[in-house]
Assembly symmetry: C2
Homo-oligomer: 882 residues x 2
C-alpha cells in the first residue's frame, strides 16, 4: 500500500469515506480535488499508516522515495520548484487526523523559503516586506516546531521590532525590520538548537513532516485524546500543499463560510471574509471581518463562483458544510471543507427541511440520524449564557438544566421563598426525605456531599430540576456558605448549571429554550422507526410526573417507585408508626392508613396513563431510610436527652441499621420479614384499578417484585399478589414480574422466567453488584481517577458496561427466552435514558427502556438510532461526528 496519495488521486471509494486513511482534512480535500474537481491548491496526503509505522519503528524507509516522487509531481502541477532561486514553490505542512483535534497539533507554512528563494519571492511579488515576513514566519514556526527552540526566542525580537518602529500591527513593519527579524531568527535557531536552519527545502520538508508525525505523541495531543476518548493508535495524516496567499495584495483575501446558518438552521449561506489576510487573521479576531455577502461587491465573480461551489458541495455531501477559501490575486481556491457543527435548533430545522430539499432529499431515517442527543438536550433544558461565567466551585452534574435564584438553607425557607414568588436555590450539605417539600419548591439544588445517586440527585432528576451535588469545596454553614474566601449569604443570588456542575456567584443570564416545530416532527419520525421494536416508557411516581411523561411521548410507566409515596412529609410519620408498631393491630392500623394514601396516588397515576401499561414496583428501600440516623439520636441523647418517642425511634433505628444497606434487607427480603407490607401495597393498587374501571378507564397494571434472587422467593411474593387480586376479584390482565438487579437473578433467569410474566433489568443495582461499586462511595471519590487512567472504559453508571454487566444482560435474555420465548424484558433505571446504553439494550433484544420523563424525548431518538443502526448491522453512536 502506498504511504502517499495526491489530492487528485482517483480512489476506488469516495475519498470522504477514507478519513481513517487520509485523515479528515485530507479526505475532504481529495473529495473536492478528485471527485468534484474544484479549485484546490495541488498537494498530497501522507496517510495515517505512515504515522503508525513511524511510531512503531521510526521513519519508514519507503517514505523518502514516495515523498521525492510526489514532490516532483507537485512541482509539475504547480509549475514551480521547491527552492527554485527564480520562482520557488512554497508549501504548507499540516496534520490532519481522523478526528478533529483543534489546535492540538502542528502546522508549518511557507516551507521552501531560504536565503536565496526569499529574494526570488520578493522579486516575483515585488513586495519585499511580504517575502521576508513570510520567511520570518517560516523560521519562527520551523525553529519552534521542528528544532525545539522556545517561542520566546522569536516573539521577543518581534515585539521589540514593533516597539522600535512604533507599530502594533505586524503588517505595518518595514521590509528592513522583517529582514532583520529573519537574521535574528536564524541566529536564535543556531544558538538554541546548536545547528543552523536548513537551507535545503527538501531537508526542510522531511524535518517538517517528521515533526508533525512526532506531534501526534506530544503532551498536548495525548492529553486531548485521553480527554476525548480518541484512540492513540489512529495516528495522523500529513497534508503537504502548495501555498496560496490571501495576504498577497488587495485582490487577495480569505474567509470561512457555512452553507446554512449554523445557529438557526436557516437555508442561507453565511460567513466571514477579510481582504488581504491569511486564515489566522480571520480566526484571531483582531481585524473586523466582513460578512460573506459583502464579497459580492468587491469580488463579484469569485462570490458567484463560491456560491455555486457551496451549492455543489452541499448537494454532494447532502449536509450543511463549513468551508475555508482563499482568493489569491482574484483566483478562488478551496482550502478546506467539512460537515458543519450546528446548534440543536439548527440541526432540527436543517434535518427536517433537507427531507424536502430537491438537491438533498434526506430520508426520514437519515434526518433522524442527523440529530444527536446533545441537540435535544440543548432544547430541553435552560442554559446559562455569557462569556464571563467564572464558576466559584464545580460539583457533580447531577441533573441537567440551569437555575438562577436566591440562596436558602432549609426546606422550609425554600417553601416560604417560593410562596413569595421568588426563585430560590436550596443549598444543603446533603438532603434527606424530610427536605422533599423544599426540593419541590426550589428552582435548583446544590449540595456539598453525595454522589450521582444521592437523595438530592435522584429526586432532582426525577423532577427535571437542575442539581449540582457533591461540590466538596462548598462549606455549608448555618446561614451562609463559603468557597475559599468567597462567602455567599442567605438571600444572595447564585446560578447553577446542572449540566456542567458549575456554581456561579451572582446572577448569570438564563436562556429557557423554546422547542422549534421540527422537534415534534423528528420525534414522531423516530417513533415510526422504532415502533414495535424498542418502546420507551418513563419512570414516574405520581400523577403530575406521569402526565408529564405522557406529554413527552412515554408509552407507559416502566418504573413507579412506591417508596417515593412513603417519603412525603405527611406520610413519613405513618411509615414510622408501622415500623414502631409493637402489636399486630397497631401495625395493621398504620398499614391501613398507608393503603388509603397509596390508593389515591395510584388512582392519579393510572388516570394519567390510562390505556398504557404502568409497572408498579413494590417497596424497595430498607426500613432505616424512613428513620432518623442512629448517630444523630445518640448525639441528641448525650446532649439534650431523648423524649420517649424519640427513644423508641432510636431503638428501631438500631434494630434496622445496616453495614451495607445496598446489600441489606430491602425489596422482597423486607416483605418476607414484614409480610403485611406488600399485601397492603397490592390492595391499594388494585383498589385504584377497580376505581378506574368503574370510572370507565382502562388501567393496565404490572406488579413488579424488587431484588429477587430465587424462583421460590418470587413465587412467595407472587402468591401474595394473586391472593389480594382474588380477594378483590380482579383478575383481568394483571401481570406479575420481577426486577432483575442482582447478578444471581440474571444467572437463574430461566427459573425466574417460568414464574414471572415480565422482567425489568435494574441495571443501576446490577452495575453496583457486578463491579462491587457502591455508587455513593466510588462515583465521586474513585471514578474520575479510574476513567482518567483508563482502568475502566468509562463510568459504568453513565453508560452500561457492555463486557461485564452487558454479559449478564445477554445471559439473562438468552436464559429467560429459552424458558419462556416471548417474555417481555425491559430496562428501568438511568441507563434507560443514555443513548449508548439504549443502543446496547436494543442489540441485546430488550423490548423497552424506561427513563425519567425529561429523558423520554432523548430515549425516543436514541431508540430510533439504535433501530436504524441494527438494520445497518452496526451499533448506534458510531456515526455521530457533527
Amino acid at each position: 500500500m502506498p504511504l502517499i496519495y495526491a489530492f487528485d488521486h482517483r480512489h476506488r471509494r469516495p475519498p470522504r469515506e477514507l478519513a481513517e486513511l487520509l485523515g479528515g482534512k485530507g479526505a475532504n480535500l481529495a473529495e473536492m480535488a478528485s471527485v468534484l474537481e474544484l479549485p484546490v491548491p495541488p498537494g498530497f496526503t501522507i496517510v495515517t499508516t505512515a504515522c503508525r509505522r513511524y511510531r512503531d519503528g521510526g521513519w519508514p524507509a519507503s517514505l523518502d522515495v514516495e515523498l521525492g516522487r510526489h514532490v516532483a509531481r507537485l512541482e509539475r502541477r504547480a509549475g514551480r520548484r521547491l527552492g527554485d532561486p527564480a520562482d520557488p514553490l512554497l508549501v504548507s505542512v499540516r496534520s490532519g487526523a481522523r478526528f478533529s483535534m483543534p489546535g492540538m497539533m502542528d502546522t508549518i507554512l511557507n516551507l521552501g523559503l531560504n536565503d536565496r528563494s526569499v529574494r526570488a519571492l520578493a522579486r516575483t511579488t515585488g513586495d519585499e516586506a511580504f517575502a521576508h515576513r513570510s520567511y520570518a514566519r517560516l523560521l519562527a514556526m520551523y525553529g519552534r516546531i521542528v528544532m525545539g527552540v522556545e517561542a520566546a526566542a522569536f516573539d521577543e525580537p518581534f515585539e521589540a521590532a514593533k516597539a522600535a518602529e512604533g507599530v502594533d500591527d505586524d503588517a505595518r513593519l518595514s521590509p528592513r525590520a522583517w529582514k532583520e527579524l529573519c537574521r535574528s531568527h536564524k541566529a536564535a535557531i543556531r544558538a538554541a538548537a546548536r545547528k543552523p536552519f536548513p537551507q535545503d527545502p527538501h531537508a526542510q520538508l522531511r524535518g517538517a513532516v517528521e515533526a508533525v508525525l512526532r506531534s501526534w505523541d506530544g503532551a498536548r495531543a495525548v492529553a486531548y485524546r485521553e480527554r476525548e476518548g480518541i484512540s492513540h493508535d489512529l495516528g495522523t495524516a500529513v497534508n503537504v500543499q502548495a501555498m496560496v496567499f490571501g495576504n498577497r495584495d488587495d485582490r487577495s483575501g480569505t474567509g470561512v463560510a457555512f452553507t446554512r446558518d449554523a445557529a438557526t438552521g436557516e437555508d442561507r449561506p453565511y460567513g466571514d471574509f477579510l481582504v488581504n489576510a491569511q486564515g489566522e487573521d480571520v480566526v484571531a479576531g483582531v481585524r473586523i471581518t466582513q460578512p460573506l455577502a459583502a464579497l459580492a461587491d468587491e469580488f463579484p465573480d469569485q462570490h458567484a463562483e463560491l456560491l455555486a461551489i457551496m451549492d455543489r458541495l452541499e448537494a454532494h455531501y447532502r449536509d450543511m458544510l463549513d468551508l475555508e477559501f482563499t482568493i489569491e490575486q482574484d483566483r478562488l481556491w478551496m482550502l478546506q471543507v467539512r460537515v458543519g457543527k450546528r446548534t440543536g435548533v439548527a440541526a432540527l430545522r436543517m434535518a427536517v427541511e433537507m427531507t424536502t430539499d430537491p438537491a438533498i432529499r434526506l430520508t426520514r431515517a437519515e434526518a433522524v440520524g442527523r440529530i444527536t442527543p446533545d441537540h435535544l438536550d440543548q432544547i430541553l433544558h435552560p442554559r446559562l449564557v455569557g462569556d464571563d461565567l467564572e464558576p466559584v466551585a464545580t460539583g457533580l452534574a447531577a441533573s441537567p438544566g440551569a437555575a438562577v435564584g436566591a440562596v436558602v438553607f432549609t426546606a422550609d425557607d425554600a417553601v416560604a421563598g417560593a410562596a413569595e414568588g421568588r426563585s430560590v436555590i436550596l443549598v444543603r450539605k446533603e438532603t434527606n426525605p424530610e427536605d422533599v417539600h423544599g426540593l419541590l419548591a426550589s428552582a435548583g439544588v446544590l449540595t456539598s456531599r453525595g454522589g450521582l445517586v444521592s437523595h438530592a440527585a435522584v429526586v432532582a432528576r426525577g423532577w427535571g430540576k437542575p442539581a449540582v451535588v457533591g461540590a466538596a469545596a462548598v462549606e455549608v454553614r448555618e446561614r451562609s456558605f463559603a468557597v475559599g474566601d468567597v462567602v455567599v449569604a442567605e438571600g444572595d443570588t447564585i446560578s447553577i448549571d446542572g449540566s456542567s456542575g458549575e456554581v456561579i456567584a451572582g446572577a448569570a443570564t438564563l436562556v429557557v429554550p423554546e422547542p422549534p416545530p421540527e422537534f415534534d416532527t423528528i420525534l414522531s419520525w423516530s417513533d415510526q422507526i422504532r415502533r414495535g421494536k424498542l418502546a420507551v416508557r418513563a419512570n414516574a411516581d405520581n400523577g403530575p410526573d406521569a402526565a408529564r411523561a405522557r406529554a413527552f411521548g412515554a408509552e407507559g410507566i416502566g418504573l413507579c417507585r412506591t417508596e417515593h409515596m412513603f417519603l412525603h412529609e405527611d406520610r413519613l410519620p405513618v411509615v414510622r408508626q408501622m415500623i414502631l408498631a409493637d402489636t399486630p393491630e397497631a401495625e395493621a392500623e398504620a398499614l391501613e392508613e398507608l393503603r388509603r394514601v397509596q390508593h389515591l396516588d395510584f388512582t392519579e397515576i393510572l388516570e394519567a396513563m390510562d390505556g398504557l401499561p404502568v409497572t408498579v414496583r413494590l417497596l424497595d428501600p430498607p426500613l432505616h431510610e424512613f428513620l432518623p440516623k442512629v448517630a444523630d439520636l445518640d448525639l441528641k441523647a448525650a446532649t439534650g436527652g431523648l423524649s420517649p418517642s424519640e427513644e423508641r425511634l432510636r431503638r428501631a433505628a438500631i434494630d434496622w441499621a445496616e453495614e451495607n444497606p445496598m446489600l441489606g434487607i430491602r425489596g422482597v427480603r423486607l416483605a418476607v420479614l414484614k409480610p403485611g407490607l406488600y399485601t397492603m401495597q397490592v390492595r391499594a393498587l388494585l383498589d385504584a384499578v377497580r376505581d378506574r374501571i368503574e370510572a370507565g378507564g382502562r388501567p393496565d397494571v404490572e406488579v413488579m417484585i424488587p431484588l429477587t434472587v430465587s424462583a421460590a422467593e418470587f413465587e412467595l411474593a407472587r402468591s401474595w399478589v394473586v391472593e389480594a387480586a382474588e380477594e378483590l376479584d380482579i383478575t383481568s390482565n394483571l401481570l406479575i414480574g420481577t426486577m432483575v438487579e442482582t447478578p444471581r437473578a440474571a444467572l437463574v433467569a430461566d427459573e425466574l422466567a417460568r414464574h414471572a410474566d415480565f422482567f425489568s433489568m435494574g441495571t443501576n443495582d446490577l452495575t453496583q453488584m457486578t463491579f462491587g461499586f457502591s455508587r455513593d462511595d466510588v462515583e465521586a471519590k474513585m471514578m474520575p481517577a479510574y476513567v482518567e487512567r483508563h482502568l475502566l472504559e468509562g463510568d459504568p453508571f453513565h453508560s452500561v458496561d457492555v463486557d461485564g454487566v452487558g454479559d449478564l444482560v445477554r445471559t439473562c435474555v438468552a436464559r429467560a427466552r429459552a424458558a419462556k420465548r416471548r417474555i417481555p424484558i425491559g430496562v428501568c433505571g438511568e441507563h434507560g435514558g443514555d443513548p449508548a446504553s439504549i443502543a446496547f439494550f436494543a442489540s441485546a433484544g430488550l423490548d423497552y427502556v424506561s427513563c425519567s420523563p425529561f429523558r423520554v424525548p432523548i430515549a425516543r431518538l436514541a431508540a430510533a438510532h439504535a433501530v436504524i443502526a441494527q438494520k445497518e448491522g452496526r451499533l448506534a453512536g458510531a456515526n455521530a461526528d457533527r
Copy 2:
C-alpha cells in the same frame, strides 16, 4: 411395575441398593430374607411408588389386588390365616422411608386380632393376659392412628386399671383387667370415631396401610423432613410382617446389637438384651437390660447363631451393622439390620482396621469414603458433655469447639486473667481491632452483636478458638451480662459451645479429644487419593498460624491477609499515621515503618512454609476499618470534647467513611488512590524473600491483587509489583495473580487471564455481590427465615450456591482457560473448608482450595471424597448415610 414385593422376592439387583423403592428397612429385610436367607419373619413391602401415587390420586386401585395376593402368600408361608378363629396370623404394619425418620411415622402391631381371634390366641398360647394385652395394644394403636381418637381416651382407663390393681408394671395386670380394657377401648373408639373398631382383619390391614401412607404428610413428619432437608416427594414404603413375640414367655426375648463397638470402634460384638420383652421395652429403658454376652448363658444356641449371623452380615455388608432380633420360644428371628452409626474415633478405627480384615478388605479409597467431615470435627474440637446442659442463650455458632472459663469484659482483663493462668471467656457487645490481644488471650469469645463475618467471628475462626456471636438475648453491661433474669457477673464461670451457639451458665464438662492414630492414616490415604488433583492450602496471616497449618497438612498458604498485620495494637497507630499524613514525607515515613514490621511478619511466614507456595494478598479492607467510628468521635466531641489529634482522626474518619464499605474503596481501588501502599507491601515481602534465600531457604511467593474488576486495573497493580521486584533484583519464580471476587472479574476472566499468573476465587465476596447479600446484615436477621421457608436451598455462605455463584465460577474457569490453558485457579475463603463446596470446586476444575488451618484436615478428606466421587461420575456427599 408391582407395588408390592415379598421380602424373599429375588430382585435383579441386591435389594439393599433398592432403598429408594423399598425404603431403608424393607431393603435390608429383603437383603436378609432373599439373598442371605436368614431367619426373617415372612412379610412384604409396599413400595414408595404406592405412597407417591396415593399422594397424587388416593388409594391405587391395583393395590387392593396385590395386597390380597400377598396376604394370601404370607398366610401360606406362616401357616396361619388372618382372623383365623382357631390360630390367627398377626402382622405388624410399619413405615420405612428411604431415610430414617425415627419416631416420626406410625407403626401398628398385632393386627389381625378381633373379638374372636383374641380368644384363639389365648387358647393357643395358654396365656389369657398376653392375648388380651396384645388386643388392647392393637385397639389403642389402631384407634389413635387409623381412627383419629385422642391418645388420652386409651391412656386414662389404662392408668386407672393399674391404680385399681395397685401395680405399676403393665405386665402385672390381671387378665380380667386386660379384658376390661379391651372393652373400654372399643367403647372409646365407637364414641370418638362414631364407628366401631373393624373386626374384619382385612379391613384392619387396609386401614393401617392407608394410615401409614397418610402419616408421610403428617405434621411431625413434614416438619422433620423440612429440618433435615429430605424431599417430600420420596414417599415412604410400608412393611407388613408376621408378628413374632419376644414377650411370649421366658424362652422369649428381644435385643439390639452392633457388630463392633460404636463408641470405640473395637472389633467385638456389643448389644443389649431383655428376656420376655418386646422391642419397645429395650428402647424405653424402664427395665435393666443384660449385655449381649449374657445371652450365652440362657440361650447358648441362639447366641451362637446370632454371632454367626452377625459375622455373615458384616462380611456381606462390609461395614459395622446395627441390628434388632427377637427370640420367640427359643427361635431366633432377625427383625432389622442397618449400617450402624458411630463416633468419630470409632469410624476412624473401623475404617482402617477393615482394610486388613480378611472378611472385608476395604480399599483405602473405601476406607476414606467411610469417614465424614463430622467424624473429624468430633476429634478436632473440644466438646461440652452432660445430659443437663441447659443453655441460657443461643447465638450464632461462629467458630467450632467449646470453652469453659471465667467471664471478663475487656481485652485487658482477658490478658490479665490469662497471665494468672486462668481460662477466661471474653464477653463483648462486639469486638474491634483494639480487642485483638484480648481475643488471643481468651479461651473463647461471646458477643451479643454481629454475624458470622463479624470481627470476633473471623478472628476466632482464624485462631481456632470457639466463638458464639450475635447472641441477641445477652445484654452486656459494664461488669456483668444479663439474659432475662439471669445475671452473670465478672469472674463467674460460663461455658460456650461454638459448634452449636449455646451459652451455659456455669461450668460444663469439657472433653478435649485426642486424635487416635488412625486419624493420620486416613488423612495420608486421602492425600494419596487427591494428590495432583485438588490441593489443600491454608489461610494464615502469621508465622505460628502458618506452622500450625503445615502441621495440619496444608500444602501452602492460599490466602495471607496482610491487613491482619495492620491490626496488631502496636501497628494501628502507624497505620493511622499513614492515613493522617498531610505531607508525602510523613506518609512515606509511616509506610517505611509499616514496611519494616511487615518484613518481619513475612519472614516468619515464609520460614514456616519454606518450599511451599505462599499467596500474599495485598491490603484489602477500606481505610476506615483502621479508624475510630465517626459517631463515637462525634459523641465524644459533643460531651467531653476532642483533643487536636482526635479531631484529626475525626476528619479522616469522615473523609473515609462509606455508605456500603463492602462495595467501597478497598482492595486495588485503595491502592490506586494511595499508590505507595502496595509498593511498600511488595517491598516488605520481597525483602523477606531475599532474606530467606540468603538464609538458604526456598521461598515460593505469589502476590495477589484483591477486588480487581478490569484487566487495565490489574495491569497497573502488576506493574507496581514488577517494578519493586526489578528494583530489588528479584525475578525468580514470582507469580502475580488476582482474586476473582466481583462478578465482573469472573465474567471478564479471559481478559484477566491474559495478564494474571493465577486466580483465586474469593467466593465469600462473590456470594455477597451475586446475591446482593451483605453477610453482616442478612445472615443473622434474614437467612434463618429464608432457609426455613425454602426461599433458598441453604445458606449460600455456608455451602457455595451452585446455580448462581457456581455458574460464575464455571464461567470464570472456562473463559480463563480459553485464554490461558493451564492458569492455576484456586479458591480461598470459607467455602474452601466446606465439604459440599469442595465437591463442587473439584467438579468445576479448580486446582486447590484454601481454608483456615483448623479446617485443613477436613478439607483434605473432603477433597479426597470429591476426587473419588468424580471418578465414579457423581458429586461427593451423596453417599454419606452413616
